[in-house]
């Protein structure tokens, strides 16, 4: 039989992959790092270790139980508002958190900056990028254990999560919603939300219950029971190795870290919930940048590009005066809130502006005594740590990863990401 053109075309039109959209089996192993792994990218022997998005699937976790049960090393969350913990509200907040439709042009959800496998932060940027690619001036912080902060944002300008969620929803350079009503209308017009608010709150969608739902999900992301907790609070001697224990001793001793990243007798938040000036903000505001910029253009390949060339395609970085921008008190210039160090191994890059890629760089910054100037916190002084002591501190910090993070990430992977249909 001669093959006719139509038959050939027919074959072309109906090959074996037609309609292909296979759902993969859920991941049994969760990698707590970007699926697009760039470890050692600065070296010429870099090799990819990439994961497939088709396998980025997970299993729902009992978030209510996590939110209401004590975890080793952490206190139960106290809620001063009327937003009592509730299963339906947590689930609704979880759905909202991953919904990209909740931005002006339907491309940004909360989770686009607080990426689950990247410590619910963003390992791939120093400072976050928002609506239409607009610059933000700060690193996207982790929301793991965000329930324990007394002041939210790096300048502590917001007092509770129910209110806080509206800042990114409405900020022109974040999700860019033009009004509260626009957000509400977006949800009301999405059929997959039909009845969900009424079920959870007994009332239709409103500004209040959107905030309540998102706050409930974030408060359920509690992660304690780290190896440090098992050693310190659980008295399991083998939970930390010798180097990590040396790091702990430095942390509470010579290195003075615990002065701000506090460890209590019954629990450790690793933050004093206060604001301090370490000099890093001063450095960025006041000191002149170098005339050349080191730019990595391929694995193991770095070139020096003239500052003028970089500036020709860039907008100047937005100044960041920290707490001063809220209080307008000159003494508050370049003060930033102490970040918790829990899960710090998962949340690079570090500092409020993501300036440091590695934990060792952060420790070396404090080892130098921060950046000297008249407003520098008196708690920041040169530490004279040896190289081994820096390594020990780093090792200790890496023991602060909660034992349920994989479960929380898997739970996040199980959420259907909200996109336009």
């Amino acid at each position: 039989m001669a093959l006719s053109a139509s038959l050939i075309l027919g074959l072309e039109l109906a090959p074996t992959w037609a309609g292909e959209q296979t759902k993969k089996e859920p991941n049994t192993e969760i990698r707590l790092a970007p699926g697009d792994d760039k470890t050692s990218y600065e070296n010429t022997d870099y090799e990819t270790n990439s994961l497939s998005l088709e396998y980025r699937t997970g299993k729902a976790a009992g978030l209510y139980e996590i939110a209401t049960s004590p975890q080793l090393g952490l206190p139960l969350v106290s809620i001063s508002t009327n937003n009592r913990v509730d299963r339906a509200k947590i689930q609704l907040g979880r759905k909202l958190f991953f919904d990209r439709r909740l931005s002006r042009n339907k491309t940004m959800s909360c989770a686009m900056c607080h990426i689950p496998e990247q410590g619910f932060s963003n390992n791939e940027l120093q400072r976050a990028i928002g609506f239409e690619g607009r610059n933000l001036k700060r690193n996207a912080p982790t929301i793991l254990n965000v329930a324990y902060y007394q002041g939210l944002f790096a300048d502590a300008r917001e007092s509770n999560l129910e209110q806080q969620v509206w800042s990114p929803l409405l900020a022109p350079n974040e999700m860019n919603n033009p009004s509260i009503g626009y957000v509400i209308d977006t949800i009301v017009s999405s059929s997959d939300y039909s009845g969900l608010f009424e079920n959870a709150f007994g009332t239709p969608v409103s500004m209040q219950n959107i905030g309540d739902a998102l706050a409930q999900y974030q408060r359920s992301l509690i992660s304690g029971n780290s190896r440090f907790d098992q050693w310190f609070y659980g008295k399991e001697e083998s939970a930390l190795n010798t180097q990590e224990i040396e790091g702990f001793n430095l942390f509470v001793g010579k290195a003075k870290c615990a002065a701000c990243h506090q460890i209590g007798r019954d629990y450790a938040l690793f933050t004093d919930n206060k604001l301090h000036n370490t000099g890093i903000g001063y450095e960025n505001s006041m000191l002149k940048p170098s005339q050349y910029v080191s730019v990595q253009i391929a694995p193991g390949v770095v070139t020096q590009v003239a500052r003028s060339r970089v500036d020709s395609v860039g907008i100047p970085p937005e100044n960041d005066l920290g707490r001063y921008e809220i209080s307008l008190d000159p003494k508050d210039r370049w003060k930033f809130r102490t970040s918790s160090l829990r899960n710090i191994a998962l949340t690079a890059p570090y500092m409020h502006n993501g300036q440091f890629s590695e934990l060792e760089e952060v420790i070396e910054f404090y080892n130098r005594g921060g950046v000297a100037h008249e407003l520098l916190s008196p708690l920041i002084t040169p530490l004279i740590l040896s190289k081994d002591e820096v390594k020990a501190l780093s090792a200790f910090l890496r023991s602060l990863t909660g034992n349920n993070v994989e479960m929380l990430v898997s739970d996040a992977f199980a959420v259907t990401i909200g996109d336009s249909d």
Binding site: T48, S52, L125, V293, V313, G314, G354
Partner: protein, 467 residues
């Protein structure tokens, strides 16, 4: 009985038949704008229009993306003028576009909003209309973000993605649609976790995507790799200073089996390989691409054993200064390759008669910044536009936004006319596609008024398609 269910034996026969058909087609079918799909109807003479897919700029005109039509036929009374502007709503990060194989519709994508705008360009080629908008690309594709290249296959459009809805990074897929806008399939790029049967020939399998081109007679399809939403949307200067962001660029190109859509071989190609241009001559089994960050021309070629290889064959300018080669265009005789470098605004002509030894023979600064080129099939006309990405374009006075029309006499470019897209309140000029009355059996209106004897009006020819 399913006509298309084949055994291993008769499937092989069919593939031979298909290959033969494609080979025969390649002898007769060429496209204009030498970057176009060989499946497409072509213009071999004078084009009438250039459609410019244009980004809206804040505080300029109506601030939204638009398809701008420019009359480029010197015989037209409107030559050199903007004759139509069709706004689509929003700043979608307008980027690339491509015709369906019948050339009746132009698909144009928004890298940010993920919307795909389908324009009717055949009813009135001088005045395209918006036929349909696809706004569920991310959802139906299973999470692909950033529709980039629109490449005509037989009755279908292959859309390359740049990113994904999980982390806005560079892992992505190609998404296949019918010409009528119906979703067909998602083809994920291979990763280390799932190579999908491909050979990882070097150290990289990053899963990134960018452009796609095909060599049908070799049953081959090629893709390149750029970066994800986070990087292509952010301020360029900020990104260059962010060491984390600079790690998130593609370093691979992939050879696919065109028919099965399966990846077969992953090549290491460090530094973000972008546009792919395949040779046109029937015995030229190779394609060029250039790496944006490392500034090299790469050749993907079939060796004497029938194995596909990739090799860096030339530097572009001084790579240490990151001139940023962006768009490229191969001449229809495969002897020349135009390479545009964004940072210095130069068009560079390389003699690629020996594809393994490209030599730059000419360069000209077109503007303060430069991205796209479209050249006519005969190589005598070349059109240039300025914009790369909204937040990557130069700032202040250096942000020139233009469409410039040149003639090429084989030794130098001669400016014929230009349109200042800022002065015209249009926006940032990006990708160009050609239009012509003759494609649709129409005569130019200013020629129909002439006597019948002069109705050799259209020297635009519609070529036969491969099928």
């Amino acid at each position: 009985m399913n006509l298309f269910k084949t055994t291993g034996v008769n499937r092989g026969l069919m593939q031979i038949a298909i290959a033969s058909l494609f080979f025969a087609a390649s002898l007769t079918s060429h496209a204009d704008e030498t970057c176009m799909s060989p499946y497409m109807a072509k213009i071999v003479g004078q084009e009438d229009f250039v459609y410019v897919w244009t980004l809206g700029q804040e505080n300029l005109g109506d601030e939204q993306d638009k398809l701008v039509t420019i009359d480029v036929n010197p015989a037209s009374p409107k030559y050199g003028k903007v004759i139509n502007s069709l706004s689509v709503g929003g700043r979608n990060e307008a980027h690339h576009s491509g015709f369906t194989d019948d050339r009746h519709y132009l698909w144009a994508g928004g890298l940010d909003s993920n919307k795909i705008f389908i324009f009717d360009v055949h009813t009135d080629p001088a005045k395209p209309t918006l036929y349909k908008t696809i706004d569920n690309f991310v959802k139906v594709s299973g999470g692909v973000v950033g529709p980039h290249t629109f490449y005509a296959l037989a009755g279908k459009i292959m859309v390359t993605g740049l990113s994904n809805n999980a982390d806005h990074g560079g892992r992505t897929a190609m998404v296949e649609y019918s010409n009528t806008g119906d979703y067909i399939a998602t083809h994920w790029h291979p990763t280390d976790q799932d190579l999908r049967g491909a050979e990882k020939s070097g150290k990289f399998a990053d899963g990134y995507g960018y452009d796609v081109r095909a060599l049908p007679r070799r049953n081959a399809m090629f893709t390149s790799s750029f970066t994800g939403w986070t990087n292509y949307m952010m301020d360029f200067g900020t990104m260059l200073q962010d060491p984390e962001a600079m790690k998130r660029f593609g370093n691979t190109a992939i050879k696919w089996n065109l028919h099965t859509r399966k990846p077969e071989k992953i090549f290491d190609m460090p530094g973000a390989p972008l546009e792919i241009r395949c040779a046109w001559q029937p015995n030229h089994n190779y394609c060029f691409t250039t790496t944006a960050l490392t500034s090299k021309i790469w050749l993907m070629y079939e060796d004497e054993q029938g194995e596909w290889q990739a090799k860096a064959v030339a530097d572009i300018g001084d790579p240490s200064k990151v001139p940023l080669p962006v768009d490229i265009s191969i001449t229809s005789d495969d002897k020349g390759l135009w390479v545009q470098t964004f940072m210095d605004g130069k068009a560079r002509y390389f003699d690629v008669s020996d594809p393994f030894n490209p030599k730059q023979t000419y360069e000209k600064e077109i503007g303060s910044q430069l991205n796209m080129i479209s050249q006519s099939w005969d190589g005598k006309r070349a059109y240039f536009t300025s914009s790369l990405l909204n937040n990557w374009d130069k700032k202040g006075d250096q942000d020139q936004q233009f469409f410039k029309s040149y003639t090429w006499d084989g030794s130098k470019l001669n400016l014929e006319f230009e349109v200042d897209f800022k002065a015209e309140k249009l926006g940032s000029a990006h990708q160009m596609r050609f239009g012509a009355y003759g494609l649709y059996g129409m005569k130019r209106p200013y020629e129909t008024k002439q006597a019948e004897v002069n109705s050799n009006a259209s020297d635009t020819l519609l070529a036969s398609k491969p099928e």
